[in-house]
């Protein structure tokens, strides 16, 4: 991706088609990333929408090859903004709890929705499909349980396929920290899967 970025740096503006293709290609993974973090479908969709609008508004003049890194940075910031706002809101909710009924957003399990909507996977038989869906459910739950920074590093590095330097730039930390986060995340996931008798 880095070489591509340098190659297209002189291009002035991502075309509408390039931006459309980029967003269409990244939107579902972006939604899942947000969902792993916030565990709320609506909030995750809002975060992705905000990130898309910010990208189009602020960085519409950037070359298409720079969009992935910029979008990931915006998306991660939008997720952090969500937690900041929720922290402030929960403070007010605590203060006003005597006047307003408490609404627990954590009760809903967003992965249940995904479970039911996952649909058939390829040409596998019913047993294999069920196994695949169970594995997906298990992995998504384990990823959602990871500490935020480890999850962020692991998904950026291995799902978005950014290199270590790019991941560090998006996360605003050192490359060494990225490696540490990724290593710990992978170790935690391997242990969790092994505990369920699954070896990938």
């Amino acid at each position: 991706m880095r070489a591509q970025t340098i190659h297209t740096r002189t291009r002035p503006l991502a075309s509408r088609r390039e931006l459309s293709d980029f967003l269409a290609g990244v939107e579902r993974r972006a939604f899942k990333q947000a969902l792993f973090a916030v565990r709320d479908d609506e909030a995750a969709l809002d975060i992705v929408q905000d990130a898309m609008l910010r990208l189009a508004e602020k960085y519409g003049g950037k070359p298409a090859a720079e969009l992935p890194l910029l979008f990931q940075r915006i998306l991660q910031n939008a997720i952090r903004d969500f937690f900041r706002r929720r922290k402030v809101r929960s403070l007010w909710t605590t203060l006003l709890s005597a006047l307003a009924p408490r609404h627990n957003e954590e009760d809903a399990d967003p992965l249940e929705t995904l479970e039911s909507a996952a649909g058939p996977t390829g040409q596998r038989g019913p047993d294999a499909q069920i196994e695949q869906l169970q594995l997906l459910d298990l992995i998504e739950k384990e990823i959602a349980k990871l500490p935020a920074r480890q999850r962020e590093a692991f998904l950026l590095r291995y799902w978005e396929e950014l290199d270590v330097a790019e991941t560090a730039a998006v996360m605003g930390c050192s490359e060494g920290s990225v490696k540490t986060h990724c290593s710990r995340a992978a170790h935690t996931l391997a242990v969790a899967l092994k505990a369920r008798g699954i070896e990938l």
């Binding site: 939604f31 929408q49 992995i139 799902w159 992978a186 996931l189």
Partner: protein, 132 residues
């Protein structure tokens, strides 16, 4: 544990779960369209800005207005001051001329004017002009 290998297998599993519920897919499509509309609007603004590079170089139309407004005020003040000074000078000259005529009239009435003055043709002409 081979971290890259494990990560690749996990990525494949995650990719298999990217089929979203129809409502979520529809919401994402709407969000994408909004972003594209915004992109088109921004691209249009950038094209318009190309025509106003001077304004942009000075920091945009608002900043240009902020710079030009005091300059216009200074020019208007300078023009006003110059006109006021001309008006004052004309007034002073008129007053001086009136004083000279008054002095001559007084001398004529009191007979203090030298006899040569009555013989001077230029003085006669001046008196005629002043009395008109």
């Amino acid at each position: 544990m081979n971290e890259p290998l494990l990560a690749r297998k996990i990525r494949d599993v995650l990719d298999s779960g990217l089929k979203l519920p129809p409502e979520a897919s529809a919401r994402l499509a709407v969000a994408r369209e909004r972003a594209l509309e915004r992109h088109r609007a921004v691209a249009g603004e950038l094209a318009l800005a190309g025509g106003g590079r001077t304004a942009a170089a000075l920091g945009g139309p608002q900043r240009l207005t902020r710079l030009l407004l005091p300059v216009a005020f200074l020019v208007a003040a300078a023009v006003g001051l110059q006109q006021w000074q001309e008006h004052q000078r004309a007034g002073r000259m008129a007053a001086q001329q009136a004083a000279e005529i008054e002095e001559t009239d007084t001398k004529l009435l009191t007979g203090d004017l030298p006899i040569k003055a009555y013989l001077d043709e230029d003085f006669q002409a001046w008196l005629k002009r002043s009395s008109e």
